[in-house]
């Protein structure tokens, strides 16, 4: 029996971190959990939170079963923002689905584009030019910084620290302006293409990125001055929403929510894609699995992302940024206008889309919120027969009751925030 368990530990890289850190529920919380079934008789009190509550990050409704101010049970009620993305995708060609994925997790559209495009490329077994891979990595890390800044600002705002919100949005604005230069839009980017990216990184964008990365560390210190030792922040985040690494794995959590519990699992590291295996970076891990650790991890990830961007910019190779396989990518406009065969091919590509081999594939990508996976079943036509989205926010919500039980009603807002939940992705 023991040998089997050891075998499992060796094969799964994620579980290794557990052996070093013994995480137990804090004794205070255990006492509270025991006390919930105490002899004091109170009436059952059900409280509806949301879907119109400003700090539920969208339209999330939670039914809270309360014992005084303690949460006995928290039942999330999802689906208020369901837009049927998976069903719409069955009637769209693969290129047309890319703008739909922008709207999944609308604060990190680039990451969603990347996840979808990678799944299709895996289906096609298509190779992306080196410069394309580097640009994708750079832009994905920019998006990670944007997302974590947004998270930090709103999380602090939920807890009551308003100024952090202004400072994080100031830096976020710089990156969004760069997105506008790169692809023409700030949020609904539609930048990644199957086989590469839509446009090249100009020299002025590269210069601006260098400038941003160089001046980023003082800004992180600024946020930390406001939060790191602030006693209100500590009281609201330390030992709140604790989840052990084992439970986190069992609930299928991913992203910073999982790494906060000390589980060393990051798809960028263990299934490297893009240019992540060509640069030097590390995966920050938490110890206690509480909200503060997840905050600390996201701050460290800001630093790691900035470092990845800088290294990628240093190593940025020249060459094409889009695959020259014109069975997949649109031919250049000049050829379309002057060459009849290219024109016919362009018509077919637009109307029918490119054909994928029949079969199915799953491809997970580490987005800022966790593992965003696309499962695509193809029947050999230009449209997916079925597309299923494994949204990290949705899976993370599964652990909500477990993480919220026993805490005060005022903590519920903090617990929403710690997932970095976005309902567009959760309800799809």
């Amino acid at each position: 029996m023991e040998s089997v368990e050891k075998e499992e530990v060796r094969t799964n890289p994620g579980v290794q971190g557990l052996e070093r850190r013994e995480i137990t529920l804090s004794t205070l919380r255990q006492a509270v959990l025991n006390g919930l079934d105490s002899t004091i008789k109170t009436d059952q009190f059900l409280l509806n939170m949301g879907p119109q509550h400003p700090s539920t990050h969208g339209v999330l409704r939670v039914l809270l079963d309360l014992d005084g101010e303690r949460i006995k049970k928290a039942v999330p009620d999802l689906g208020y923002l369901h837009r049927g993305t998976e069903k719409i995708a069955e009637y769209r060609t693969y290129n047309q689905i890319i703008p739909l994925t922008d709207r999944l997790d609308y604060v990190s559209a680039m990451a969603n584009n990347y996840a979808f495009v990678r799944a299709v490329e895996k289906l096609l077994q298509l190779k992306v030019p080196e410069r394309g891979e580097f640009i994708r990595t750079i832009v994905a890390e920019m998006q990670r910084i944007v997302n974590h800044l947004f998270w930090l600002g709103t999380q602090a705002l939920d807890i009551g620290a308003m100024s952090v919100f202004f400072y994080t949005f100031r830096e976020r604005e710089v990156l969004l302006d760069l997105f506008e230069k790169i692809c023409g839009a700030r949020l609904t980017t539609n930048y990644y293409r199957v086989g590469g990216v839509e446009g090249d990184l100009d020299q002025d964008v590269i210069d601006a990125l260098y400038k941003f990365v160089d001046s980023f560390e003082p800004h992180i210190l600024e946020y930390n001055t406001l939060l790191e030792h602030n006693r209100i922040w500590l009281a609201r985040t330390k030992n709140i929403a604790v989840i052990t690494g084992e439970d986190a794995i069992n609930f299928g959590l991913s992203g910073p929510t999982l790494r906060g519990s000390g589980v060393d699992y990051d798809l960028r590291k263990y299934e490297p894609y893009g240019a992540y295996d060509l640069v030097d970076w590390s995966v920050p891990l938490g110890k206690n699995g509480d909200i503060y650790d997840r905050y600390w991890i996201r701050i460290q990830e800001l630093r790691q992302s900035a470092s990845i961007i800088r290294q990628c910019l240093d190593k940025l190779p020249s060459g094409p940024f889009m695959t020259d396989d014109h069975k997949v990518s649109f031919p250049p406009k000049g050829r379309v206008m002057h060459n009849m065969e290219t024109l016919i091919h362009h018509f077919l590509l637009v109307v029918e889309g490119f054909k994928t081999p029949s079969g199915d594939t799953y491809c997970g990508t580490e987005t800022p919120k966790g593992e965003l996976g696309f499962y695509i079943v193809s029947d050999g036509s230009g449209k997916p027969y079925r597309m299923r989205i494994r949204a990290p926010s949705f899976v993370n919500m599964g652990a909500f009751n477990h993480m919220a039980r026993g805490y005060m009603i005022a903590d519920i807002v903090t617990i929403f925030g710690t997932y970095d939940i976005v309902m567009g992705e959760c309800d799809r």
């Binding site: 689905i97 604005e173 006693r231």
Partner: protein, 182 residues
């Protein structure tokens, strides 16, 4: 230990935070007072979609339906017909773009084989009625006339200008810009 105790009773970390906030009062302001001052948008900005004309003023659209086919939001409707004056040329008899549905992804511009569409930097349109945002071809041509060089700049940034650079009219031999009556 003593230091930590002093820090706790003197609220030093709150003091540092307040110092930082106070310092920001004397920094350069980054807020833009929107209606009065406006940001310069990038050349590739995906704003409202406009129809373009050839240099001689003839509209480019040949009514090929490709924009309708690629539109992920199904916002475009094209009814094409034979040109009433030039029998060997097709044109869009009706062209409707529903900007209430449009998601500004820019695929219609990619799909257009004659560079008849481009995106402008116009982003602030509003209307009291839904019909006010459903644009006909004439309205979109007017948008293009107003945008002028902006629409060319968009195509240049998005690498779709190489065919135009060949310069000569006969270069575009598959969709010749036939002059009226000629």
């Amino acid at each position: 230990m003593l230091k930590k105790f002093l820090q706790t009773i003197l609220f030093s970390e709150l003091g540092q935070g307040l110092k930082l906030t106070f310092r920001h009062m004397f920094m350069k302001k980054i807020t833009v007072q929107y209606p009065k001052e406006k940001l310069t948008l990038a050349d590739g900005y995906r704003g409202f979609i406009a129809h373009r004309r050839y240099e001689n003023g003839v509209e480019r659209c040949v009514g090929c339906d490709l924009c309708e086919a690629i539109c992920p939001a199904k916002a475009i409707r094209v009814v094409s017909d034979i040109h009433p004056e030039v029998p060997d040329r097709r044109y869009a008899k009706e062209y409707t773009l529903d900007f209430t549905r449009c998601i500004f992804c820019g695929f219609c511009v990619v799909a257009c084989p004659v560079n008849a569409l481009s995106m402008t930097k116009e982003f602030a349109h509003s209307s009291f009625t839904r019909n006010g945002l459903i644009y006909s071809k004439e309205q979109m041509l007017a948008l293009g006339d107003r945008a002028g060089d902006e629409s060319d700049a968009y195509l240049k940034v998005k690498n779709m200008w190489d065919a135009e650079d060949s310069g000569k009219e006969e270069g575009r031999y598959h969709f010749p810009p036939i002059t009226m009556g000629g």
